[in-house]
Amino acid sequence: MTTPAVISLTDITKVYDTGEIQVHALRGVNLEILSGEFVAIMGASGTGKSTLLNILGCLDHPTEGSFLLDGVPVHTLNRDQMADIRNSKIGFVFQSFNLLQRTTAQENVLVPLLYNRREKIDDMKERATTALTRVGLGERIFSHPNQLSGGQQQRVAIARAMVNKPSLILADEPTGNLDSRTSLEILALFQDLNRQGVTVIMVTHEPDVAQYTKRIIEMKDGRILRESRLSVPRDADEELRKLPAEEE
């Protein structure tokens, strides 16, 4: 029995036409990511990392090539269909959290449910609370972002990414704005979610962070430069225990 591919990219190219010059951001990317994987996409800026992320996130169309997400040919969809795909199949986690200000954690997590067209949800609040409890914020559901630490805000964002039960979570430098302890906590959370079967793709430029994933894809000049699988990824929980106890 083969695990179904969540993502299947075939000969993806992306050309930005700026009028005078054409920028080849992606020059033929082939990639398959299976359900339950935890993948790091690495690369310096300008390597096509962000472009790839935008395409994987169904925010942008590839110039050429085919992109199957859960078997759906995303490259053929229109703008509204892409929005629906983002809502149902993808959970976004951003470097700067991107929570709605002056809005409680619960209401933030509600947002994807409000835009959900697939199903009529009567227990939206319960679902949001469940998602927040799962990321360890069951006690803070009525806190506003400015009352939460960076790590807690990122947890709210992860709960928001999870609430519609997506096929994959796309995290763009999720630890970029966090200190090392909080980064470890967030990575531990991703590892935990991944163990429960959630597919996670994380874009990062920190080799350290990538060590916590199972598969590292390095980009260069719009192509995949090399790929490596980690048979034993580092365990974030273990690293956390090794850190000296936090001073109160």
Binding site: D80, A83, D84, Q101, T103, V111
Partner: protein, 405 residues
């Protein structure tokens, strides 16, 4: 997407930015408030003019001597006086729809009495006159049928004459001379004020029609006949009846024009009403401009808000909002802001109207339909001026919006 969710999104956005919402509303509040105050003042002016016209007497029907044509040449209204006491008598005998009939024999005269003298109009009328004009006496009594029959030299003074001739003592029982004919003052009229043309209605002396006709005016005809119909609804029928009776009395053949004019107060009022209507429209359009400016204010702040919330829009799109969802969110925000602003404007407008009415003693009339129209109009302002910013928001590219700092 369910509309309940939509309203939820817009509602959250509105209450989370109270200051911005309030500032946006301010234009609409002032606009709607101004429209309501202006229309109320205009309508009030109209109502007070209407009231003055009604003060002529309710259900009043006037008969004027009419246009006389000689060989096809119109000599103009009143060019040939052909109303007589016979006409009045015939109306009294034959009419069924008239509740009061009074001839008016009018003559200008110098009145001497008390401490001074005064040039005024003397009206020779019947005993019905006061009831037709709904004009009570303030003191004394009116003359009787007997006085009319016997051409008694009694008169009733208007307030202007009382003020000028008898400022300090009661004129009832005193004697005045009208064109050197001595008259006994038996009553005083209550104050009526100016009429719609600005004429002083209190500058008047009333006397029995026969007395004025035979002892003062010397004219063969009377200047007008005042009658009153039983009710407003009866006015057209009463006018028709008067025409029939007078045509018969004047022996006018079938196909010939009337030699008299029958008018009711509505016709008299129409000119005055037209004037105030123009004024109301003028005031309302000035106020509407402020509503328009309020709408532009909404657009202004919504545009700023779209720029300010670019990141939020990007996040919403990433989380699955369709362009349409964003469009509707901003549109709903604009419409809710303008409707709520409109409602507040109504409250303030009505309050301001009451204040204006109390301070200036102008008549103000709040027409309920104005309130509905202003709310509807402010909703339209919201849609119209919210559409462009909303469209702008919904057209954002999610990637660029997410990257926006």
């Amino acid at each position: 997407m369910r509309s309940a969710n939509l309203f939820r999104i817009a509602y959250q956005s509105i209450i989370k930015h109270k200051m911005r919402t309030l500032l946006t509303m301010l234009g609409i509040i002032i606009g709607v408030g101004a429209v309501i105050v202006m229309v109320a003042i205009g309508q009030g002016a109209q109502a007070s003019i209407q009231g003055q016209i009604n003060s002529l007497g309710t259900n009043l029907v006037l008969v004027f001597p009419g246009v006389f044509r000689q060989a096809g040449v119109s000599m103009g209204g009143g060019s040939f006086t052909r109303l007589s006491f016979d006409d009045v008598e015939k109306l009294k005998r034959e009419s069924t729809k008239l509740t009061g009939i009074s001839p008016v024999v009018r003559t200008g005269a110098q009145v001497i009495g008390g401490i001074s003298n005064w040039s005024t109009s003397v009206y020779g009328v019947s005993t019905d006159y006061l009831s037709i004009r709904e004009w009570p006496l303030s003191s004394g009594e009116f003359f009787t049928e007997g006085d009319v029959r016997s051409q008694t030299k009694v008169c009733i003074l208007g307030q202007t004459l009382v003020k000028n001739l008898f400022p300090d003592n009661d004129p009832v029982g005193q004697q005045v001379r009208i064109r050197n004919v001595p008259f006994k003052v038996i009553g005083v009229l209550s104050e009526k004020g100016q009429n719609s043309m600005g004429m002083d209605q209190d500058d008047i002396v009333l006397a029995p029609s026969s007395t004025v006709f035979y002892r003062l005016s010397g004219s063969r005809f009377i200047s007008q006949i005042l009658t009153s119909a039983a009710s407003t609804a009866e006015i057209p029928a009463a006018q028709e009846e008067i025409r029939t009776i007078l045509r018969e009395s004047h022996k006018i053949n079938e196909g010939e024009d009337d030699d008299f004019t029958v008018r009711n107060q509505t016709e008299l009022a129409s000119t005055a009403e037209e004037t105030t209507r123009v004024m109301t429209i003028l005031l309302a359009s000035i106020a509407s401009i402020s509503l328009l400016v309020g709408g532009i204010g909404i657009m202004n702040i919504m545009l700023v808000s779209v720029t300010e919330r670019t990141r939020e829009i990007g996040v919403r799109m990433a989380l699955g909002a369709r362009s349409r969802d964003i469009l509707v969110q901003f549109l709903v925000e604009a419409v809710v802001i303008s409707i709520v602003g409109g409602l507040i404007g109504i409250v303030l407008g009505v309050g301001a109207t009451l204040v204006v009415g109390a301070v200036t003693s102008w008549t103000t009339v709040i027409v309920p339909s104005t309130l509905f129209v202003s709310v509807g109009f402010s909703a339209m302002v919201g849609i119209f001026f919210g559409l462009y910013p909303a469209k702008k928001a919904s057209d954002l590219n999610p990637i660029e919006a997410l990257r926006y700092e």
